[in-house]
């Protein structure tokens, strides 16, 4: 099993969700995140005082998938999140040893 994590632009979340649902993904975890990559942050002004904000808002999408599906799901997220502009984000996978469904106690692929 793999954990696919995408850190994406907040305004792409709805498209990513729809694309994942169309690809058969039945669950995901979404959380607010902040960070920066190659793009710079932005500047805010309060009563003439400038604040440079390095960390920009992002959304983190996490999906648990079987090993066989992982590469395709990464492509789905990349395809749906892409705008072509700087700051689009990253998607990565990491191996997962085991998964348990809390309601039934099932383990492994059966719990996905």
């Amino acid at each position: 099993m793999k954990l696919v994590t995408g850190v994406i632009q907040p305004h792409r979340l709805d498209d990513v969700k729809s694309a994942l649902e169309a690809a058969g993904v039945r669950g995901m975890t979404v959380s607010e995140a902040s960070g920066y990559g190659r793009q710079k942050g932005h500047t805010e002004v309060y009563r003439g005082a400038e604040y440079t904000v390095d960390l920009v808002p992002k959304v983190r999408v996490e999906i648990l998938v079987s090993d066989a599906d992982a590469a395709a799901i990464v492509d789905v997220v990349v395809g749906a999140a892409q705008t072509g502009k700087i700051g689009d984000g990253k998607v990565w996978t990491v191996p997962v040893d085991d998964v348990a469904r809390v309601r039934t106690g099932e383990h492994g692929d059966a719990a996905l």
């Binding site: 002004v45 009563r47 003439g48 005082a49």
Partner: protein
């Protein structure tokens, strides 16, 4: 004098409007601080209501309007606890020259003292012991506010009965000197004595909730109609003139502030609009009864421009007036007081009145700054080694709300907890 129920109704309404300004100020200031200290900021306003609301009836009224001592203060024992200020000898309510019961005037004036104390708190946000603030509030209103109110409005040195009136009668319609210069000068002195917030100039200290700031500014504007309109002391044309001038000057100040921001910073901001509102309200306060609506546009727009530039002074000069009480209240208060010398429709320089009015306005402004600064400095220096001004560094960093009030304003990610003990 016969009871005038219309005037009385307006003055009770005005008093209520002015009292609303202080909770409005709590929102205005509360939104501008960081989320970890918003409750403390609001509590400083509510604390000012609590302390001043009690003190005013005990000795505040008497020190402001009691029998004169040296042109500086009224005798605090003259009408202590309002004895002799409510009923005449026959047991009927005393009625003032406008047909309004004296007790209504007491309430109206008490609300001015309350908001003035609360205004100062913006300069020392995020870092001050609440207990010290409460003690300071009581001392400051007694030794700085009441004397100033007496000097300007109670027949003292800076009033039409004082020595400077031989040049021209000083004009302070609703509190340019008593409220805004007084609070602004005190704010500057306190910011210097108390010292900077930890991280000032290096860490971001952004307003945590600009919607609260906008709401607070709106409530201040609404309440200010009582502040200025009520300062006519009756429901008449002066009240109407003050109402219109208050609106026009404030609108013009918003434009002034936003234009400066657009040209200097590239964006017209909501904080700038809210700040322009307050700068305009402050500046028109002393002038609301003596300038024309046309003149009030100049009072307002110049106030907006001056204050928009003045709020940057703290970074240049290195003092931490957290929420710009100096830049907004002192600067706009000084301009408003001086603007009368130029724009008063009967005595102003631009209306052929010569320089006398301008000179006397400058004199009362300077005396107000010096008096307020000296009294505040003495009180602040006494409190520093005794009660102490600053909370611990740990409390300041982790959030003064939790450290001082055992509360936090917003729910973060926290694990659940159980009630161990209910104190009843």
């Amino acid at each position: 004098m016969e009871l005038d129920t219309g005037a009385t109704a307006w003055m009770l309404t005005s008093a209520s409007l002015v009292l609303l300004m202080t909770p409005g100020l709590a929102l205005f200031y509360g939104g501008m601080v960081r989320g970890k200290s918003v409750l403390n900021m609001m509590m400083m306003s509510f604390g000012a209501i609590a302390v001043t609301g009690v003190i005013y009836v005990l000795w505040g009224w008497s020190m402001s309007y009691g029998s004169d001592i040296g042109g500086i203060i009224g005798n605090p024992f003259d009408q202590f606890a309002l004895q002799g200020a409510i009923y005449d000898e026959a047991g009927n309510f005393l009625i003032d020259d406008f047909g309004v019961p004296g007790i209504v005037g007491v309430g109206f004036q008490a609300t001015f003292a309350i908001i003035t104390v609360a205004l100062i708190s913006g300069a020392i946000a995020d870092r001050v012991k609440f207990g010290t603030w409460m003690v300071f509030a009581g001392l400051w209103v007694t030794f700085a506010y009441f004397p100033m109110a007496h000097m300007v409005w109670g027949g003292g040195l800076l009033s039409g009965d004082g020595p400077f009136a031989s040049i021209a009668a000083p004009i302070d319609f609703a509190g340019g000197t008593v409220v805004h210069i007084n609070a602004g000068a005190a704010a500057l002195v306190l910011a210097l004595v108390v010292g900077k917030r930890k991280g000032f100039g290096t860490e971001p200290m952004r307003p945590h909730n600009l919607t609260l700031v906008m709401l607070g500014a709106a409530l201040l504007w609404f309440g200010w109609f009582g502040f200025n309109g009520g300062s006519a002391f009756t429901a008449d044309g002066f009240a109407g003139l003050a109402w219109v001038n208050t609106t026009t000057a404030t609108a013009a100040a918003v434009i002034g502030w936003l234009v400066v921001e657009k040209l200097r910073d590239g964006s017209a901001t909501s904080l700038g609009a809210a700040s322009g509102v307050v700068a305009g309200l402050v500046a028109i306060t002393p002038a609301a009864g003596s300038v024309s609506p046309f003149g009030s546009i100049f009072v307002g727009v110049i106030a907006g421009v001056l204050s928009a530039y003045a709020v940057g002074l703290k970074y240049k000069l290195g003092y931490d007036d957290s929420l710009d009480v100096v830049g907004v209240h002192l600067v706009a208060g000084l301009w408003g007081t001086l603007s009368i010398g130029f724009l008063a429709t009967e005595t102003g320089l631009f209306y052929g009145g010569g320089v006398n009015q301008l000179a006397v306005q400058a004199i009362i402004a300077v005396v107000a700054v010096v008096f307020s600064a000296v009294v505040t400095f003495v009180l602040a220096i006494i409190l520093k080694p005794t009660l102490g001004w600053r909370v611990s560094e740990e409390a300041e960093v982790n959030g003064i709300d939790l450290a001082v009030h055992s509360e936090s304003a917003y729910e973060g990610i926290q694990s659940g907890s159980v009630i161990k003990e209910v104190r009843a």
